[in-house]
């Protein structure tokens, strides 16, 4: 197994607090920072880069939106080291009004899974009653859950715990990209 951050079984994304323009996330394995995500500012189309370090010397993943408006946008995921397309994530805009929902696509834009909020009831509760209830997402292929993404309760700093079992059928780089997009796009609404 290589030493890439997406190969970990569990990791946490935490938004950097003092960032005026754009957004940045640290990726933690316990207390150790293993990667750094930077969401570029002043870009009409979302452009997110994952680096092996905060100095941004080695780019690992590139996530870029096809559309300007995030409502039902599709985000392509590219492995920066091999320059190969890993897959894509497509946000289901209308469905996400009530319950956040994303489609996971392979390198040929064929759907292979989905990421959804834990339950419609909790999603509605968060939207209409209290935004303080942390979100939970499951990445599923068919009826099987491949990974879980759970927001930590913290009213000041957005933090997302990701758990990926060893037998996950989806490319782990795609799971990582899903976590970054949920933190960047859905987390922005908090």
């Amino acid at each position: 197994m290589s030493n890439q951050p997406w190969d970990l079984g569990t990791y946490r994304l935490r938004r950097k607090v003092l960032k005026v323009f754009g957004a940045s996330f640290h990726v933690y394995d316990g207390d150790r920072i293993v990667a750094f995500c930077n969401q570029q500012a002043f870009k009409l189309r979302e452009d997110i880069r994952l680096f092996a370090d905060e100095a941004q010397t080695r780019e690992l993943l590139w996530i870029r939106a096809r559309q300007i408006v995030d409502f039902s946008a599709c985000y392509d995921v590219v492995d920066s080291q091999t320059q190969q397309k890993v897959g894509a994530m497509r946000r289901r805009g209308l469905k996400s009004i009530l319950r956040d929902s994303w489609e996971v696509l392979d390198a040929d834009d064929q759907p292979i899974g989905k990421v959804e909020e834990d339950s419609a009831a909790m999603a509605l509760f968060r939207r209409f009653l209290s935004n303080l209830v942390p979100q939970k997402f499951h990445l599923q292929t068919g009826t099987r859950s491949c990974a879980s993404l759970v927001q930590r309760w913290n009213p000041f700093v957005y933090s997302l715990d990701v758990t990926v079992p060893a037998n996950c059928e989806v490319d782990r780089r795609l799971v990582f990209a899903a976590a970054v997009l949920i933190a960047a796009i859905e987390g922005r609404q908090q």
């Binding site: 009409l44 870029r64 096809r66 559309q67 300007i68 392509d76 590219v78 190969q84 397309k85 834009d109």
Partner: protein, 88 residues
């Protein structure tokens, strides 16, 4: 008619689908990433029409006082939208 996309790595030409416009796709020949030019974002076009209507509305509203107020308001709205568009 859409122009074919040429892979910068192997020079293979292919036609990207409408959904792939503005995206990063796999070249069917060399499998490497190709940046497809263009944009398929109906909501963005709608937003631009909205900005134009806002500019006209601002020009008419502020133009009630002085015509040059209206012209300035319209120019400011369009100028602001242009600045944002420069980022793209």
């Amino acid at each position: 008619m859409r122009e074919p996309t040429t892979c910068p790595h192997c020079k293979h030409s292919f036609e990207a689908s409408r959904d792939q416009l503005g995206g990063l796709v796999k070249c069917p020949h060399c499998q490497r990433v190709v940046d497809v030019p263009g944009l398929n974002d109906p909501l963005w076009w709608l937003l631009r029409v909205g900005i134009l209507i806002a500019a006209i509305g601002a020009a008419v509203w502020f133009g009630r006082v002085e015509p040059w107020h209206g012209a300035l308001a319209g120019v400011l709205v369009l100028g602001g939208a242009w600045l944002v568009g420069r980022a793209f």
